[in-house]
């Protein structure tokens, strides 16, 4: 039968075996139960183990179902969990950059601000948690559109209103902006949403390397930019923060 992949069928059989009866099985138990060669069985088990679907007890060497399987069925990351994990890192980002820090996720056709840390001066500021920002013009939105396919289709198909004279509105230019963001690993907004305001953001990944949000800073263009570019120091601070939050969510080092 075309389309059937034997090793996947065997992997599925191994998972079913581990899911029923005795929870922990040794290599030879698995091999003999399924009538497979030990070498073949070991190869499949090792691959499943690398993917987190199977775990091996370090003492007995026996195999059992892995935590990843449980997460597959329940993979949605709660935004409040995301905020709790990001809290210390975004505080540090605001402190080291001297600018307000934001954490955003895709919500309908825009960016929902789920966390906001004030700029560390004594000025009066209003908490913007719960506010929506546009996907196509903000740094947070561009990061989401560049790295999350669902956000990309929302941004590509949605209306891209010119909010300032510098907003990128045509499809071709917008795709070029996203391409640049993917290549650099971060995105900027240079007065494309608000006059006089610039921002920079980078993607946050979960343990399965899925982009789950964007973290960034926003401030007066005079402070955030040097000439026509975001200051390198601020880009580095934002990317450090995004990496730290991702690491906290279980994404591997990158």
């Amino acid at each position: 039968m075309p389309g059937h992949i034997q090793s996947l069928e065997r992997a599925a059989a191994i998972l079913r075996l581990l899911a029923g009866g005795e929870r922990r099985l040794g290599l030879s138990d698995v091999a003999s139960s399924l009538g497979l060669a030990k070498g073949t069985t070991h190869g499949i088990l090792r691959t499943l183990q690398q993917e987190g679907f199977v775990e091996q007890d370090p003492v007995s060497g026996k195999y059992q179902l892995g935590a990843e399987l449980l997460r597959l069925g329940n993979s949605y990351l709660d935004v409040h969990e995301l905020r709790a994990r990001a809290l210390v890192w975004t505080d540090d980002l605001a402190r080291s950059s001297g600018e307000a820090a934001y954490l955003g996720v895709l919500h309908q056709q825009g960016v929902l601000i789920v966390h906001h840390v004030f700029r560390p001066d004594d000025s009066r500021q209003v908490l913007e948690v719960g506010a929506m920002q546009p996907l196509h013009s903000t740094a947070l939105g561009k990061v989401l559109a560049a790295f999350d396919p669902v956000a990309h289709s929302e941004a590509a198909e949605g209306e891209r209103t010119a909010l300032t004279g510098r907003t990128v509105t045509t499809a071709e230019d917008f795709e070029a902006v996203l391409e640049l963001a993917r290549a650099r690993g971060w995105a900027a907004d240079l007065e494309e949403t608000w006059e006089g305001v610039a921002s920079v953001a980078a993607p946050v990944y979960d343990r399965r390397r899925m982009p789950v949000g964007a973290v960034g800073i926003t401030g007066a263009v005079e402070r955030v930019c040097e000439g026509t570019e975001i200051r390198a120091r601020l880009v580095a601070a934002v990317r450090d923060c995004a990496r730290a939050v991702s690491r906290d969510l279980g994404a591997g080092r990158f």
């Binding site: 905020r83 605001a94 908490l127 990317r239």
Partner: protein, 519 residues
């Protein structure tokens, strides 16, 4: 993809201050820079020992080993992350600790004579009732500011003297030393059997039931009443002064320069230096402290009077303290016992799916009502249930319970001190819950402010140590370090707040008298 190289470390350069937080579940060491930013952290958990129901102990030798390890660990991490760092860049080390946990050890060998009795340990319940005699739990309140309760150290010392074979004789002969965890750590840091200094600070001493709040010295009458020989007691010192020097963990003769109980350290770290300033730490339970200035304020509304801090020779600063037993643990209960959420953070997601509590109120009096009621015949109640109420409404009621209980403590503080709360500084894990923080501002009718450093406890100990060695010139310099990370302002109509508060108080009434027989 390669990283953009960072030109300079984001943490600047030294000098630095280190702080040890000897907590209930773990010991930590954090290195801070002059701006109060975290440079390096290390942490290690220790075993919780439960010999019988209600008994909780710690192995003090394990704790001391862990403290040495985390100091070395934090110093090592700082050396790794900060170019040019040397241990000599650490100008002082401060200590904050789980309060009231009680240890006796042999001054000649440095060996604990028994596991430490942890503050949560209730084995002295009966002893405390006995010590109350005909007066009851307020017998020593005027002198100490505290009720006779099993948390506090004095009765725990008595229990050890009564129950460890031959201990009383050795104690009276001067061979045994008592300390809360600050004393144990400082004694060991400064040399242990080899000339270690036996001291405690006023904040820790104010939790023993043995110190007179007015003289800030051990109260001989109470010592005699509880049965604690003066020979075991440490010298009471200020919270911010050089007690000695230490060379553990790769440090070289670094001054050991502060000690503060954990909640007082958080008050200090939140820079609540003016009368009327208050902080609330939201963890499993919640502790709220208000600075009441240079005179102790007696509480007639179920609060505790305690020392807030004392900097060197300056006048001591007192505080009123109110604690809420069940806050974060109610969310855990919803997760673990009820299974209505799978992570603590999800409580906000569930609660946010409805606009209000749907008429439901949740009073988590799981082991009675604490401040300001102190009713151990009360048990938890969910009131106002109708067919309309969903699990989302209950989730909302869970968060509101924490906010209303804070309001009750704040009201008690205002009644006792005559000072109106102008703003509440918050810290602890639950501050990541935006809906809770907004609800808190709404119910208190006052702004709720979160600072940029979450580790206010360690920061407070670092601040006090830094002040003692001149690393920071004065408390104004510390205030300048305090940065607002977020502020929630009240948005609730006064009439709505009043109506809801009335309903909450009715639900509280419904919890009382559930247990018919008091023990």
């Amino acid at each position: 993809m390669t990283d953009t190289p960072t030109a300079q470390s984001t943490h600047g350069s030294g000098p630095f201050i280190a702080a040890i937080d000897q907590g209930t579940t773990s010991s930590r060491c954090i290195v801070f820079d002059r701006d109060g930013r975290i440079v390096a952290v290390d942490q290690k958990e220790h075993e919780q020992i439960f010999p019988k129901p209600g008994w909780v102990e710690h192995d003090a030798a394990e704790i001391w080993a862990n403290v040495q390890e985390v100091v070395a660990g934090a110093i090592g991490k700082a050396a790794q992350d900060v170019p040019g760092f040397t241990p000599a860049d650490v100008k002082a080390i401060g200590i904050t600790n789980q309060r009231e946990t009680t240890l006796l050890w042999d001054r000649h060998t440095g060996e604990p004579v028994h596991n430490a009795l942890v503050w949560q340990d209730t084995r002295t319940d009966a002893l405390c009732r006995e010590l109350g005699r005909n007066v009851g739990q307020d017998r020593f309140r005027r002198e100490t500011g505290l009720p006779l309760a099993s948390y506090f150290a004095g009765p725990k010392i008595r229990w050890l003297l009564d129950n460890v074979e031959g201990l009383r004789e050795r104690a009276e002969a001067g061979d045994i030393l008592f300390g809360t965890m600050d004393s144990w750590v400082i004694w060991n840091l400064t040399g242990g059997v080899d000339g270690g200094v036996h001291v405690t600070d006023v904040t820790n001493a104010s939790r023993t039931l043995l110190m007179n709040l007015h003289t800030l010295d051990w109260d001989e009458k109470i010592l005699a009443s509880i049965g604690v020989p003066a020979a075991v007691l440490p010298q009471i010192r200020s919270s911010s002064e050089v007690y000695g020097t230490t060379s553990v963990g790769g440090l070289a003769d670094v001054p050991v320069a502060s000690a503060l109980g954990d909640q007082q350290a958080a008050l200090f770290g939140q820079t609540c230096f003016a009368q009327g300033e208050a902080k609330s730490t939201y963890g499993t339970g919640t502790f709220m402290l208000m600075n009441t200035g240079e005179t102790p304020v007696n509480s007639y509304n179920g609060l505790i009077t305690t020392v807030g801090y004392r900097i060197g020779d300056a006048a001591p600063v007192y505080a009123l303290e109110g604690s809420i037993a069940v806050t974060g643990s109610l969310v855990q209960w919803m997760r673990d016992q009820m299974g209505l959420i799978s992570t603590a953070a999800e409580i906000e997601t569930l609660a946010s799916s409805v606009a209000d509590n749907g008429g439901a109120y949740f009073v988590p009096a799981f082991s009675g009502l604490f401040a300001p009621y102190w009713r151990d015949d009360a048990r938890g109640v969910i009131a106002g249930l109708t067919r309309y109420v969903t699990k989302a409404h209950i989730a909302r009621a869970v968060l509101e319970a924490t906010a209303w209980q804070t309001r009750e403590i704040a009201d008690a503080m205002t009644k006792d001190s005559g000072v109106e709360l102008t703003a509440l500084k918050v810290d602890g894990g639950m501050t990541s819950n935006n809906l809770l923080m907004q609800t808190l501002a709404d119910f208190l009718d006052a702004p709720v402010v979160r600072p940029m450093v979450a580790e206010t406890t360690c920061l407070g100990a670092a601040y006090a140590a830094g002040l003692a060695v001149g690393f920071w010139p004065d408390t104004d310099a510390l205030r300048a370090n305090w940065k607002r990370a977020a502020e929630w302002t009240p948005r609730m109509e006064a009439a709505d707040r009043d109506r809801e508060y009335k309903h909450w108080l009715k639900a509280v009434q419904a919890t009382m008298g559930w247990i018919e027989e008091e023990h």
